[in-house]
């Protein structure tokens, strides 16, 4: 059995895809692409797919991860292309490696987020960011299944900064109005601190209240470098573990087409 790890995106209007919706779409794409999936045992067999740490519905993402199990080996790059063609534009498969190390989910310990605040003056946003960074703790509340729950949104935040850009020309929601763009690095903790919670925190410490909902995009997730506070590629260990020769050999003897015997 071969395991392949994939990075995918939720771009533009398809960021409104819920995780459940994505799962269904992905499993159909596997069928369309005729990927030789391994199935779970049982009364209703399911293709073996493990999803890790999905972004909330409505937030965009450049860095979602999943792992699939195959019954026959496939070239990861060709598989990536095939799957990408089988998914709607916006749900794009952007990276693929063969799994050679355990614990992808364990490596996803932090995320980098971009928060675009349309109609917010960058200077005002900058003051709010400074107040947030200066605070020891920032208590926020969120509606959970068990009712309103209060927790600290500050300690999980590795860094929060104002991007120098003041206009956003992202294709999904272009605007020539001034906006403030924040860059947030946050550790994955329990309870999770989401971009929304940080926005609630900015409102709590500095009364920052964006006139329209923030456009939130996950730019990266992976292990965090303790020294620099940057988030690194979680697929790097798999790439590094790949023996160079073997990769070359595999490419040269790409699997023969089915039924050619």
């Amino acid at each position: 059995m071969q395991r392949i790890r994939l990075r995918y995106t939720k771009r533009g209007r398809l960021r409104f895809t819920s995780h459940r919706d994505f799962q269904r779409a992905f499993e159909r794409a596997l069928r369309r692409a005729e990927v030789p999936m391994a199935y779970s045992a049982g009364f209703t067999p399911h293709p073996k797919v493990s999803y890790a740490n999905a972004a909330p519905t409505g937030t965009g993402s450049e860095a979602e991860y999943l792992e699939i199990a195959l019954t026959e080996a496939r070239d990861p790059d060709k598989l990536r292309e095939l799957l990408d063609e089988s998914l709607p534009a916006g749900l794009d498969i952007v990276d693929a490696v063969e799994a050679r190390t355990p614990g992808l989910a364990d490596r996803l310990t932090a995320s980098v987020w971009e928060l675009r605040l349309d109609g917010v003056d960058p200077e005002e946003a900058g003051r709010a960011v400074a107040a947030f960074e200066a605070a020891e703790t920032v208590e926020v509340e969120r509606q959970t299944k068990k009712g309103m729950r209060a927790f600290d949104a500050r300690s999980a935040v590795v860094s929060l900064g104002l991007s120098p850009e003041t206009h956003s020309l992202r294709a999904d929601r272009p605007t020539d109005q001034p906006c403030a763009i924040l860059r947030l690095v946050v550790r994955h903790v329990t309870p999770a601190v989401r971009p929304d919670d940080v926005l609630s925190g900015l409102r709590a410490v500095a009364d920052l209240a964006p006139p329209v909902p923030a456009a939130v995009t996950r730019l990266a997730q992976g292990p965090i470098d303790a020294g620099t506070g940057t988030v690194t590629d979680p697929l790097a260990p798999d790439r590094e573990a790949a023996p160079l020769l073997e990769t070359a050999a595999a490419a040269a003897t790409a699997p023969a087409p089915e039924g050619s015997a």
């Binding site: 269904r24 159909r28 519905t57």
Partner: protein, 655 residues
């Protein structure tokens, strides 16, 4: 609607930027963003005739609708023609759209519906009428046809409910009855010519050109005259060249129309997640309550090879895990056994399940059922005896004997099925309490037989029962509808009888719908133009999504009907529980389904005498009138062809 929304609707610009800001605040935003696999977006400027197609219900119900999907593809395949889809928005988004001036939009390109040439709505049920008004209002299109200008779209109704479009005559500009595939292309041609000529004569002229074809009904070109007692005196064309009766459309060779070729695959969850292939259209079993069977005649089969090709291409294009073989009675296809076996063989390794949504008890056989469940689950079997007593089944011409049913379920339970679902109707013409109570006896015999053949007590039978609503263009179009109170009382007696059975009661499930929604459906399905005022009043009072239990309000409909109908001297009972006579002019008599009204009347009399009628596929013609009136004929196999394997599976390892 707000003035700014009206201004926005003037242009065909995408309203997505405005909509996007609202989406974080609504439930399931994915249903409003489009981008489904196999959806089509064409450049606006490259086309000259543009259709907005609506299924007037929530996206999760509307997206899988085959009618809309077929027309969407048929139109988009044409050079210079564009079709986009729109669905009803839930009240949470509707409120935000009104607050922020965002008009009704298509999900494909998020263009305002008002910018299109045609706004076509497909009505499977009358309960979508209030949703049509909500969409028109949100779109900034005047609710009534008479208030529209040359810049408003032509509001067009289709679907089964359009066979009596009179209740919505004020709100629509036109209706087309029957198969839409060729009809939308013919309409497109006429609209294109009119636009190319510079839209001479405005809105009236294009509608007149459409009406003169005899295949497009324009309500404004007909005057309805009433008798002092409230009945209709006559319906008369008020323009020269407009035909007295408008004909339904019939597509003859289904293999020439293999749609949908590229079924839409939504990201959002919808009610049917499968690759559907219509294996034949029409049904001549002659069940007297069944409007679909009456108005879609004659039977036209898709060939076994045509079906095989559609399934193969459709599965490739979608990745669905289930194939639905659709029709009004799928086991009646002349080659259904070979179809099921061939498909099960082809897709054995791909874990593709097959489903046959409508199966008659007498057409069921265990070989077929085994093929259907070979690659999937063996969960339950569903049959629809419809009437509880032998007498009742003669009245409705559903010729299924209790022996047939018991034999069938015995085979099923004996072959490993554990659950059988039985559908019935309550309130059928001439029905008494005793007829309905016999449903309990039937369910008891089913369980007794099941326990006997399976040797197990772990089997179930679910009885599901709904109120009967008399429909236009059926032999029961003259019948009195049973009142909601009597329906409920009868169902209660049946429930008590089932629950009171100590020995078998716990193995019998009982599901029923109360009689109230059926009365509203009855009011709308056999209504005339005076019902328009009721629909409008209900809409203005907040009525939406009437097919949804949590949104439907019977009291609202009754209050609005009392007020709106009072000036006419008629009431809800007059439309529903009143029996019609032979002479009465029915509101839909000028819409020609091909059925001879005298034949329908004879069949109604036969029903009262408990006389059955055969199926003309296997016995001589009984003169329902459709084939000669519409110049059509029955098209059935067998072709004698088989579905061959697509690839040689697991070739022998011969070095």
């Amino acid at each position: 609607m707000p003035a700014e929304a009206a201004a926005a609707a003037e242009s065909a610009e995408s309203v997505f930027p405005q909509l996007e800001a609202l989406l974080p605040h609504v439930q399931k935003p994915i249903q409003y963003v489009g981008g489904e696999l196999n959806s089509t977006v064409k450049p606006w400027e490259s086309t000259d005739v543009r259709w907005a197609l609506m299924y007037p219900d929530a996206y999760e119900v509307g997206l899988p609708n085959q009618g809309v999907m077929i027309l969407y593809e048929v139109l988009n395949e044409q050079e210079g023609v564009l079709a986009e889809r729109t669905y009803s928005v839930w009240p949470d988004l509707e409120a935000l759209m009104r607050e922020h001036g965002v008009p009704q939009f298509t999900v494909d390109s998020h263009r305002p519906v008002k910018a299109f040439d045609v706004f076509g709505l497909s009505f499977s049920t009358e309960l979508g009428y209030t949703n049509m008004l909500a969409a028109l209002d949100l779109a900034g299109i005047p609710l009534e046809s008479k208030d529209r200008t040359v810049d408003d779209p032509i509001v067009l109704a289709g679907g089964h409910a359009a066979f009596n479009p009179e209740p919505i005559a004020d709100f629509i500009d036109a209706a087309v009855i029957g198969d839409g595939e060729q009809a939308v292309l013919d309409m497109t041609r006429i609209i294109r010519e009119w636009k190319a000529e510079g839209r001479p004569g405005g809105r009236e002229e294009v509608l007149l050109r459409l009406a003169k074809t005899g295949g497009v009904y324009v309500p404004a070109f007909y005057d309805v005259e009433y008798l002092p007692d409230g009945r209709i005196a006559r319906v008369v064309p008020n323009r020269s060249g407009v035909p007295w009766r408008v004909s339904k459309h019939t597509v003859m060779d289904l293999d020439e129309w293999p749609y949908p070729k590229q079924p839409l695959v939504p990201l959002a969850e919808t009610v049917h997640e499968r690759m559907s292939v219509e294996i034949f259209r029409g049904c001549t079993r002659g069940c007297r309550f069944c409007q679909a069977g009456m108005i879609t005649r004659p039977v036209r089969e898709r060939s076994i090879t045509g079906i095989g090709e559609m399934v193969e291409k459709g599965l490739k294009a979608t990745g669905f895990e289930e194939v639905g073989l659709l029709s009004l009675s799928s086991a009646d296809h002349s080659e259904i056994g070979d179809i099921a076996k061939g498909l099960a063989d082809r897709y054995e390794d791909d874990k593709i399940g097959l489903s046959l949504p409508s199966t008659r008890v007498d057409a069921f056989n265990v070989d077929l059922a085994n093929e259907l469940t070979r690659n999937g689950r063996r969960s339950g079997l569903t049959f629809a005896p419809e009437g509880g007593s032998e007498r009742m089944r003669k009245v409705i011409n559903k010729m299924v004997s209790e022996e047939d049913l018991i034999r069938t379920v015995a085979t099923a339970y004996g072959n490993g099925w554990r659950q059988v679902k039985l559908y019935f109707m309550c309130g059928l013409p001439t029905e008494t309490d005793e007829d309905v109570l016999q449903i309990a006896d039937m369910a008891t015999r089913v369980i007794a037989k099941g326990r006997e053949v399976s040797g197990s007590n772990d089997i179930r039978c679910t009885v599901s029962i709904g109120g009967f609503v008399p429909k236009p263009h059926t032999p029961f179009q003259w019948a009195p509808q049973l009142s909601a109170e009597e329906t409920d009382a009868r169902l209660e007696k049946l429930r008590d009888k089932i629950r009171g059975d100590k020995k078998y009661g716990r193995s019998i499930g009982f599901r029923y719908h109360d009689g109230k929604p059926g009365i509203v459906e009855g009011l709308l399905s056999r209504g005339d133009r005076r019902i328009g005022a009721v629909i409008r009043a209900v809409y203005e009072d907040g009525g939406r999504f009437d097919g949804w239990r949590e949104h439907f309000s019977y009291d609202r409909w009754m209050n609005c009907a009392d007020k709106a109908l009072a000036p006419f001297g008629v009431d809800v009972d007059w439309y529903t529980t009143r029996e019609r006579s032979y002479e009465e002019v029915l509101p839909w008599d000028h819409l020609d389904s091909g059925l001879d009204k005298d034949w329908l009347w004879e069949d109604w009399q036969d029903a009262l005498d408990e006389t059955e009628v055969e199926d003309c596929r296997w016995t001589p013609c009984f003169d329902c009138g459709v084939c000669p009136a519409m110049d059509t004929s029955i098209q059935i196999g067998p072709t004698g062809k088989k579905l061959l394997p697509l690839t040689v599976k697991k070739p022998a390892a011969t070095g």
